[in-house]
């Protein structure tokens, strides 16, 4: 008769955590940081179609790193959760806090249940407030733990190093250009990242529409990365940004 192989629970959890962490560490990082008019989400992403940063609800954005199919599933479930809640109560009743808790519960359950492999993902749920005081940033890890970040949240491979760099150079009253440039500098390794290697979106509280999420790409992003020296004409700032493929001409910015 065979004796069941005994594994201590501490060891089991450690193995699962190591597994999830190594999966996440392979991915490139995403930075979410505050600027004067809202929250800016910056990711290194060479694909124009597979997003790491996306819209969940009127004031809520989502950023993720790790295994694409897993966080895409979580993104869709989050949109469904938010739309259902907003439809059954009111649009104002959908909050980042509620959504972050829902994600945390799901990830925590999966992590500690023996049946499934843990999700190899880290998420940021961001909500832009009516005023800067209402801005919220939550970082959720593979095991379901939530961190409530004040100004900067970084997820992915070298999150700690990048978070230190970004936090050192930022203040919440900075302009959007400063926020994007700061995030890109921190994300860049030896070579600076160009516009075509970036996915940038903002939750902009000054936007007149109820939906505050907007993608920045193409010439607008090039202008922002070039800095205040060049005359930045913010065209299309009122134009609706539907979908994604507004990349247009991918101009490499030398900054």
């Amino acid at each position: 008769m065979t004796v069941p192989f005994y594994v201590a629970p501490e060891q089991l959890m450690k193995d699962r955590a190591d597994f999830a962490r190594s999966g996440i560490a392979r991915g490139r990082s995403v930075v979410a940081l505050r600027y004067v008019d809202g929250i800016c989400l910056v990711a290194e992403n060479r694909s124009a179609a597979l997003h790491k940063v996306s819209e969940i609800y009127d004031r809520i954005g989502f950023a993720a790193v790790g295994r694409y199919n897993e966080f895409e599933n979580l993104r869709i479930a989050g949109i469904r959760h938010a739309d259902l809640r907003g439809y059954s109560y009111d649009r104002r009743d959908v909050t980042a806090r509620g959504l972050a808790n829902a994600y945390a519960q799901l990830l925590g359950t999966i992590f500690s249940s023996g049946g499934e492999k843990p999700y190899e993902v880290e998420l940021v749920v961001a909500e832009v407030g009516e005023t800067p005081g209402g801005d919220q940033l939550y970082r959720i890890t593979y095991d379901g733990s939530i961190t409530d970040e004040s100004d900067v949240a970084v997820i992915g491979g070298s999150a700690d190093r990048i978070a230190t760099t970004v936090a050192a150079g930022m203040k919440p009253t900075q302009s959007l250009g400063d926020a994007v440039r700061g995030a890109v500098t921190a994300l860049s390794g030896a070579a600076a990242l160009g516009v075509d290697a970036l996915e940038v979106a903002v939750l902009d509280r000054t936007r007149s529409q109820a939906r505050k999420f907007r993608r920045l790409s193409g010439p607008e992003l090039t202008d922002l990365m070039a800095g205040p020296a060049s005359p930045t004409k913010r065209k299309r700032s009122k134009a609706p940004e539907l979908g994604s493929d507004a990349t247009g001409s991918a101009v490499r910015a030398e900054s």
């Binding site: 989050g78 959760h81 829902a102 519960q105 979908g243 994604s244």
Partner: protein, 275 residues
């Protein structure tokens, strides 16, 4: 099945395979669908006239502000025209409570698809989704709670403004140039037949819409005319390549004042040439 009131992210949400919000609600919380709601038969107010007309680069939709319950005016400042998403408008005539709920569902339906798929539906796709929602209401329509929306929008693929009308079974019909729905629609449509020009500017179209609503209010008890004392004017929206916008009350007020003052000398409105 889960309900949206349970805390946490339900596993059901991970296992669905639909991009349709209406289908999702039907499966996860069917009691939230407007068609599933029961209502007290004689007590539901009715919303009335909606008109829409196209110009070369936009479409204008306007609705009066009256809701009636039998012979009583239930509300004198109800809003019956809404922006459905960034490029389309929906106006409602029929049972007011169900209609407004259906518009709410339709708006989430469009936004839900757009967020999940990353692109918005084509205008024909939106028109077909609205058909399906109306068909879902057929049971209540047979009991007298009819919902008759009018959909108009800017078709980004074809760069034209388009109008769709519906019947109670969800039948969808594309209209050319202009259309009206609701109890005052025959009068409004008659007015637009005489007034409409294909080369209207948006300002002209707003004036024509106000003219047609005044004519509808003139002959239909359930349609409210402009309320000059309270300054309650029709709700007017415009959809164009720049997106949708509501025409501010000040601009609608100017059109209303012009129409009303012209009717002091000719109460039936402008005359059309005989031939």
């Amino acid at each position: 099945m889960s309900s949206p009131r349970t805390p946490g992210l339900s596993r059901d949400l991970l296992n669905e395979h639909t991009t349709s919000f209406a289908d999702l609600v039907g499966r996860v919380s069917p009691e939230l669908l407007p068609a599933q709601r029961s209502s007290t038969a004689d007590l539901a107010p009715t919303a009335t006239t909606i008109v829409a007309l196209t110009t070369p680069d936009a479409v204008v939709m306007a609705g009066d502000r009256r809701a009636t319950m039998g012979h009583t005016i239930a509300q004198r400042d109800i809003e019956k025209v809404f922006g459905a998403d960034e490029y389309s408008l929906v106006g409602i005539a029929g049972s007011a409570g169900l209609s407004i709920e259906m518009v709410r569902l339709f708006r989430v339906e469009l936004e839900h698809y757009e967020k999940l798929e990353g692109v918005s539906l084509s205008l024909d796709g939106k028109a077909n989704r609205l058909s399906a929602l109306i068909r879902g209401n057929l049971g209540l329509a047979l009991q007298g709670f009819v919902v008759v929306p009018l959909l108009a929008g800017w078709d980004q693929d074809r760069a034209v403004a388009r109008i769709f009308s519906y019947d109670a079974t969800g039948g969808r019909y594309e209209e050319s140039h202009f259309f009206a729905v609701g109890s005052g629609a025959p009068y409004a449509r008659g007015a637009l037949k005489k007034l409409y020009r294909p080369d209207f500017t948006v300002v002209d179209a707003v004036t024509a819409a106000v003219q047609s609503l005044v004519d509808a209010a003139d002959d239909d008890a359930a349609t409210g005319g402009p309320d000059l004392a309270r300054r309650i004017f029709p709700v007017v929206w415009v959809a164009s390549a720049d997106g949708v916008r509501r025409v501010p009350d000040i601009e609608v007020g100017e059109a209303v004042d012009a129409v009303v003052s012209a009717r002091r000398s000719r109460p039936d409105g402008p005359g059309a040439p005989l031939l």
